[in-house]
């Protein structure tokens, strides 16, 4: 009888989840023994002492438990069907205890651990929000981070920040998991042995002293792109201290094209800032400016503002008309999917296209002959651009060479867009250099034995450097010469990774939520990085490590930051300024001012282009949309996140156009377990490039340019941690300095090995099967008939319901509803990760995804318009797969008013709420899965196994205390973030005031860069959601089933160029 209570306790052991009267730090102290605690015990112990302490520890059962415990994990271990002996015994025991499992018995005592001195301004049980920023490449994303009793739990965008505008991307959302990553390096080590910070500082000082004589001739610093003035200042101070020292930079996934292009065009490094909002016609030359790169969140927001159709719906056409986007790209990106016209071209052909365009626009240069189709396309684009002089925009891709960028600048200049749809500022980077050359110089210096001390800040060159540089050999002990090429190697990194292995010293790096700092946003805005929690382990920031070599070794990040800001703003009342800055998360008015410069470049001056022979295959390298350059490889959320277009998880694959795959006889076949929604076997190929070889799974990708193979970077890590190690293949292994982004080789470079490799793909089937799932149309059609989305569906009257009882819900107070504008969604996935973070959604691992059991509460479906093939998936070829139009559809729980799930639940675990939500009550659920069977949208997720991680202490800190942690055997699904609804309602009710529109923002809505998702009260006629639902584009998914979904969609409308349409 009372088994239920007993069991619940089992399921909610998560101590922190017991949010009553519990301070975060207090809990940290109470927490079970973990590595951090061990390290704490071992701190300041060396030699004998160290080992004695270890012996003492060894007595401690908890410590043994720790040792015997398998790796701390984020993803559950891949579980197999086999039963080993121990399991078998357990099983016997269990079958005996079966009857007693429900266990009538009292739960053990629980304790309340209050603060000793409660921090000021904190109310127990109420979250606090702090402004900070996440540095990422040449950008910093402004954030507001939610903190519960001292532990950060959720990341949101900072509305006042230019590069965030309140939204986030997948990396920002998932970075919170990096903070709690159990595999993070937790202390300072030398040759893999635990050391203390003080010891490190001493030896750093010793090294510095030794270098003094030589003015630091042998001293080298290697970092990624640095946009932090404070960090840069620190480096500069070292460089002044050691005039002979050098600072190198290497950012593996950011090309030098943009930098060099600016130099080519304007004679100096520059930063380009786009204003898509102002552009009527946009041409992207292989640029994914809506999905990646500096400022992409802002760009996506501005772009989507121009995809609004409200004004048409309101009859007022004065508003800015819908813009038009042309994309030329070798492989489908989210930008390409959003395009009105997309032209697949090989990466090298993009340059030809740019040249031809420049020529056509009369900007000089020779126009190499193009294929007729391309020519026609080009004409249309050129005309369109000219029609919109000053209101057009040409964007060049990060991975494109300098020439393309220069041409883009020239074209924009020629069209008079400069200062209108884009502007130039001084570089955001503190010290812009050509990364490739910088790394090359470092390597040759090491080779020539010029380097004595190498300090690596945060980058992982052993893994990411071009393989012809063979960076490992540059720092590894040289057996032949029997010496180390570099005397001292110091590595500052978050994990003990490939580089850490080969360096003498490894200083565990603090997460950005653990240390003070600053960084510049894409437009130069100075953003302050404010820590939300004291370092979980003995970690330090890169700046602190640098300082250890300088004259002020003790200088804390906090002081360094404040000193610099003081220096920068001498006049102001600093404390006031400081408080304001921390509150805003940025220094007001610190954005760079537009510089106006004259173009010093003509297309004519360009050398003849280098192209890939038509018969050859072109290999292009791209950062992975989920793990980027590999730095997120150990992040379970990102590993399990279906990649926007391919929908692959846990692996990267060599992406090949269906036609090329056909020629190379590369096939897929759908597995019987999981099938289209899980497991696809694909052929494995050997790729031999530039005297090196890599083995990869080949994946047919509709819309990819023929003759192109994409090798996504960031996978195949050898030492990333439990989650990230040995997933996918390592594209860096075939990436050389002379072909950093584009390599080419004859087809013979690709060989089938004959093996098949199972890939976890969450949506293999691409056709809508002629059903109206995702309504699409053109702007013309929309003007003709704004109601086109509802033409096909016949909606039965609600009264058809067998259960007239449904009328007992008048919904007269609040009527929660959601509208998703398919015209804006670009499938960027931010909502998926945001939801995972907000709702404590577990990671299930590749094996389970392959069985079709991923847990995401909101999924993004990808469909190809007009594409078809024998099997309606890429496994069989059809010409329509060459360049299909791609559409994305986010599908959360539709919160039906006539919910099929509710009728069939035997125990009433999923019930209609008075406000029209489908409440899912986990603790009542017995797990018959009937509701899922009966859900036409298949949005319900079931805990087939114990997916949630109960052991790892770090992950307990991560959880959102406002949401129940689900156990094995219960159903779960999107709740419209009911915890946020309830909290907002409670606050409103205290003052008996209505909940105003926007007071409740669901996690997905909040994260969405394009404002595609809108949540609100449908009863409030002035609410945004009510307005959207009033539009004629608004339609219900599978409306004919009469489920009356509360989540409705606004049809996607594209704005094609009539000239190209006619063809």
């Amino acid at each position: 009888m009372d088994g239920m209570r007993e069991h619940e306790q089992h399921e909610h052991l998560d101590g922190l989840h017991d949010h009553n009267d519990l301070g975060g730090d207090a809990k940290l102290r109470e927490g079970p023994l973990d590595l951090a605690a061990v390290r704490a015990k071992l701190q300041f112990k060396t030699g004998k002492q160290y080992w004695r302490t270890l012996e003492e520890l060894a007595g401690d059962p908890e410590f043994e438990g720790l040792l015997h415990r398998e790796f701390p994990r984020q993803a559950p271990s891949e579980w197999d069907d086999s039963v080993d002996r121990r399991d078998f015994l357990k099983l016997m025991a269990a079958s005996l205890a079966f009857a007693g499992l429900s266990g009538c018995g009292r739960t053990p005592e629980q304790y309340v651990v209050p603060y000793v001195k409660q921090p000021d301004g904190m109310t127990l049980g109420k979250p606090q929000f702090y402004a900070t920023a996440m540095p990422f490449g040449a950008d910093a994303i402004g954030l507001l981070v939610e903190s519960h009793e001292g532990r950060p739990t959720k990341i949101e965008g900072n509305p006042d920040h230019p590069s965030s505008v309140g939204a986030t991307n997948v990396f920002a959302q998932a970075s919170i998991l990096n903070l709690y990553d159990p595999d993070r390096a937790q202390t300072v080590t030398k040759f893999g042995e635990i050391q203390t910070w003080s010891l490190f500082v001493d030896s750093a000082q010793a090294i510095a002293a030794a270098m003094k004589g030589s003015n630091g001739a042998g001293f080298r610093i290697l970092s990624g792109i640095v946009t932090s003035p404070t960090l840069a200042a620190q480096i500069q101070s070292l460089l002044t201290l050691f005039p002979q020292a050098k600072w190198h930079q290497w950012e593996p996934a950011v090309g030098d094209g943009a930098r060099e292009g600016a130099k080519l065009a304007f004679g100096s490094y520059l930063n380009t800032v786009y204003r898509p909002e102002k552009a009527d016609v946009i041409l992207s030359l292989d640029s994914d400016f809506l999905g990646s790169g500096p400022g992409h969140i802002r760009y996506a927001r501005e772009f989507s503002r121009r995809r609004n159709l409200d004004q048409f719906f309101e009859g007022d056409r004065s508003g800015p008309e819908m813009n038009r986007l042309y994309v030329v790209e070798p492989t489908p990106s989210v930008t390409g999917a959003t395009a009105d016209h997309r032209l697949p071209l090989r990466a090298t052909e993009v340059e030809l296209f740019a040249r031809a365009l420049a020529a056509k626009l009369g900007l000089g240069g020779s126009s190499a002959p193009l294929p007729s189709a391309t020519e026609k396309w080009l004409d249309a684009v050129a005309k369109d651009l000219q029609r919109h002089k000053g209101a057009s925009l040409v964007v060049a891709g990060e991975q494109q060479p300098a020439e393309v960028h220069a041409l883009a600048h020239a074209i924009n200049d020629g069209l008079g867009n400069n200062g209108k749809t884009l502007y130039y500022t001084e570089p955001v980077e503190a010290h812009p250099v050509n990364n490739l050359e910088s790394l090359r110089e470092l390597c040759s210096d090491i080779y020539d034995g010029k380097v004595e001390t190498l300090l690596i800040l945060g980058v992982n060159p052993v893994y990411t450097a071009p393989h012809d540089f063979d960076f490992a050999s540059k720092i590894k002990f040289d057996e032949k010469k029997n010496r180390k090429p570099v005397k001292n190697t110091i590595y500052v990194g978050s994990h003990f990774d490939e580089t850490a292995e080969l360096c003498d010293w490894h200083v565990a790096e603090s997460h950005y939520l653990e240390a003070w700092g600053d960084a510049r946003a894409f437009d130069g805005t100075l953003s302050v990085i404010q820590p939300l929690i004291a370092p979980l382990y003995h970690t330090h920031s890169g700046r602190e490590v640098l300082a250890a070599f300088g004259d002020k070794p003790g200088l804390s990040d906090y002081d360094a930051l404040r000193d610099r800001l003081k220096a920068a703003n001498p006049s102001t009342d600093f404390e006031k300024f400081w408080r304001k800055t921390l509150n805003d998360g940025l220094v007001a008015g610190s954005a760079f001012v537009p510089a106006n410069l004259a173009l010093k470049f003509s297309a004519a001056s360009l050398p003849p282009p280098k192209t890939t022979p038509a018969t050859d295959i072109e290999f292009i390298f791209r950062p992975d949309p989920c793990v980027y350059d590999g730095r997120f490889a150990n992040n379970g959320w990102l590993q399990e996140l279906p990649k926007p277009v391919t929908k692959l998880t846990w692996d990267n694959a060599a992406l090949i156009s269906p036609k090329t795959a056909e020629n190379l006889q590369l096939a897929h076949n759908v597995a019987w377990r999981g099938g289209e929604h899980g497991k696809v076997y694909s052929n494995v190929i050997d790729i031999s490039l530039s005297s090196s070889k890599v083995t990869a799974a080949a994946w047919r990708l509709p819309g990819q340019a023929d003759g192109v193979i994409v090798l996504p970077l960031g996978y195949g890590r050898k030492k990333a941690g439990y989650t990230g190690t040995n997933k996918g293949f390592n594209a860096y292994a075939v990436r050389t300095s002379d072909a950093l982004w584009t390599a080419s080789a004859p087809t013979s470079a690709v060989k089938k090995t004959g093996d098949d490799y199972p890939l976890a793909c969450t949506q293999y089937h691409f056709s809508m099967e002629g059903r109206q799932i995702l309504a699409t149309g053109t702007l013309a059609e929309y003007h003709k008939n704004p109601n086109f989305a509802n033409e096909l569906a016949q909606l039965p009257p609600k009264e058809l319901s067998l259960y007239k009882g449904e009328a007992e819900f008048p919904y007269d107070r609040d009527k929660w509803a959601m509208a998703i504008d398919l015209n804006k969604c670009n499938g960027c996935n931010a909502c998926v990760v945001a939801c995972q973070s907000e709702n404590n959604i577990p990671v299930v691992g590749k094996d389970q995804v392959m069985r079709g059991r991923e847990m995401h509460w909101i999924r993004i479906d990808r469909y190809y318009e007009k594409a078809k093939s024998a099997t309606n998936d890429p496994s069989s070829y059809d010409d329509s797969l060459f360049n299909p139009q791609t559409f994305f559809q986010p599908v959360p729980c539709q919160q039906c008013e006539n919910a099929p799930c509710e009728q069939v639940c035997p125990v009433g675990a999923t019930v209609h709420s008075a406000e029209g939500l489908n409440d899912m009550t986990y603790n009542r659920c017995v797990g018959t899965r009937y509701c899922s069977n009966n859900c036409p949208y298949k949005v319900r997720r079931f805990n087939f196994l114990r997916f949630q991680d109960w052991e790892t202490p770090q992950l307990k800190l991560l959880r959102n205390p406002e949401v129940t942690v689900r156990s094995r055997g219960v159903m779960e699904k999107c709740t419209y973030c009911v915890q946020r609804i309830n909290n907002a309602r409670i606050e409103a009710e205290k003052s008996n005031s209505p909940i105003h529109d926007g007071a409740i923002v669901t996690a997905c809505e909040q994260a969405c860069p394009t404002e595609a998702i809108v949540f609100g009260n449908a009863n409030d006629k002035d609410s945004r959601v009510a307005k959207l639902k009033a539009q004629q584009r608004n339609y219900s998914l599978l409306g004919e089933l009469n489920a009356r979904p509360r989540t409705t969609y606004l049809a996607a409308v594209r704005n094609p160029n009539p000239e190209l349409e006619s063809a």
Partner: protein, 461 residues
């Protein structure tokens, strides 16, 4: 038997194949049947068979234990296919559990003499099948230890089950059916238990049978009450035979899944159930009469009749298939139409064709008198039909789920080792119980056979 093909059910055939062999007296009948239990030494075959069955039963317990430890994730199910083998087997077993009560109750009310010698073990089989079926709804839940939430009881949560859900109807339908069948079976046993009590030699046996016999003395009053009780129970059981599978079919027809959502299910499930039930009776009867030389009690007449019933129900099922097919197309509902195409051309098409072969085509052979009277053929046929009916449930439950409304969510299902272990395990349990049954209880009702002797001897006159 006889050459040529006399018209069905003529007195001639009655003579040729009576419901009981000639020349039996009360005594001889009693001796023959009770000896199986009491005097006859247990054959080696029995031991071997029992051992095999019992080890399979062991496998089942292991599989279930592992399930409890790990969770339903050890099975092949996923989203969208939330129901797999567990539900398929459940429906299949329940179906099998139909013949027994049908034979003993309905045929009893219709006063069909030929039921007499087969009703006892048919009923036993029913009970065992229902027991096997009963396991699945429980273990297929994610948290079996919470399954009592499905019971209406005054809980500390102030909650009741959701009575709109067909699963709740199942709980009642199946448990009622199980209970009534059990009582019916036991009441029928009482006189025979008394016989065994009186005939068994060792004291312990006497005591055990004695207790079970509940002091039966065979007095006129006992007989009178016995018969009225038996009649009442028969009347009670009859509607249940029809209701159980109707209710179970609601699990599907009430939902909106294309392939489930169809009104023809109740009749066609019941017919299918009887179909598979009789098949299973044959599957057991044929070896049984061989093993214990009961050809005189379970005569060709019985086999012939059961074959006919199979043929008849088989045709009803065929009709059901046809209309399921027709209605989908006729409705014009694009999802239903698509489902039909999937069954014919989809990845699971072979299963559908196999099903047609087993359930519709093969049984047509039963039109032939010769084949009906060929024991070996009948036995094979019964096996084929059992397989066919299992396939039917697989096609309905699983394949409908693989491709429903939103293409992006389409998936596939394939059973894991544990699915098979549980399924085959229940077969082990079933056979184990059958073996025990024939060993310790009279597989044929002695009392009723006595009556039969009386009646038939009157026929002779």
């Amino acid at each position: 038997m006889s050459a040529g093909k006399p018209p069905f059910d003529s007195p001639e055939i009655r003579r040729l194949t009576p419901v009981i062999g000639p020349g039996y007296t009360y005594g001889s009948v009693t001796d023959k049947i009770s000896s199986i239990v009491l005097t006859r030494p247990t054959s080696l075959g029995w031991y071997i068979g029992f051992l095999i069955a019992f080890s399979l039963l062991g496998m089942m317990t292991v599989a279930i234990g592992w399930l409890i430890i790990k969770g339903t994730g050890i099975w092949g199910i996923n989203v969208p296919i939330g129901w797999g083998f567990a539900i398929v087997n459940f429906v299949w077993w329940i179906g099998i559990g139909h013949a027994g009560t049908l034979i003993s109750a309905i045929l009893f009310l219709l006063n069909q003499k030929w039921r007499t010698s087969i009703n006892r073990f048919a009923e036993a089989m029913t009970l065992f099948a229902v027991a096997c079926a009963g396991i699945f709804p429980l273990i297929h839940t994610g948290r079996p230890w919470m399954a009592f939430y499905m019971m209406p009881y005054p809980s500390t949560m102030g909650l009741w089950p959701q009575f709109r859900s067909p699963l709740i109807w199942d709980v009642f339908a199946v448990s009622t059916y199980g209970t009534v069948s059990l009582m019916f079976w036991f009441v029928g046993l009482i006189p025979d238990l008394a016989t065994l009590r009186d005939r068994s030699v060792q004291k312990p046996m006497k005591i055990i049978y004695g207790m079970l016999a509940m002091g039966w003395r065979g007095s006129a009053r006992h007989w009178h009450r016995y018969q009225s009780a038996y009649l009442l129970l028969a009347g009670l059981a009859t509607p249940l035979v029809l209701s159980v599978h109707s209710v179970i079919s609601f699990d599907f027809s009430v939902s909106i899944v294309p392939g489930w959502h169809t009104t023809i299910f109740p009749p066609y499930f019941v017919a299918g159930a009887i179909y598979s039930g009789f098949a299973m009776v044959l599957t057991i009867a044929i070896p049984l009469r061989k093993a214990y030389a009961l050809e005189d009690f379970i005569t060709m007449r019985h086999l012939d009749n059961m074959a006919k019933v199979m043929l008849a129900t088989g045709l009803i099922v065929a009709y059901g298939y046809f209309f399921e097919f027709f209605l989908s197309l006729y409705s014009g509902n694009k999802f239903d139409v698509f489902l039909v195409q999937q069954r014919l051309h989809g990845p699971y098409a072979p299963f559908y064709y196999a099903l047609i072969l087993c359930n519709i085509l093969t049984p047509q052979l039963l039109w032939s008198y010769k084949l009906r009277h060929n024991v070996a053929v009948l036995f094979l046929m019964s096996i084929v039909v059992n397989i066919g009916m299992w396939l039917e449930r697989f096609v309905i439950v699983v394949i409908s789920l693989t491709r429903d409304f939103v293409p992006s969510a389409w998936g596939r299902y394939s059973p894991t080792f544990w699915d098979w272990a549980t399924f085959i395990g229940t077969m082990g349990m079933f056979v184990t119980l059958i073996f025990l049954f024939v060993r310790v209880l009279p597989a044929i009702s002695i009392a009723e056979m006595r009556e039969l002797v009386a009646e038939t001897s009157e026929d002779e006159k």
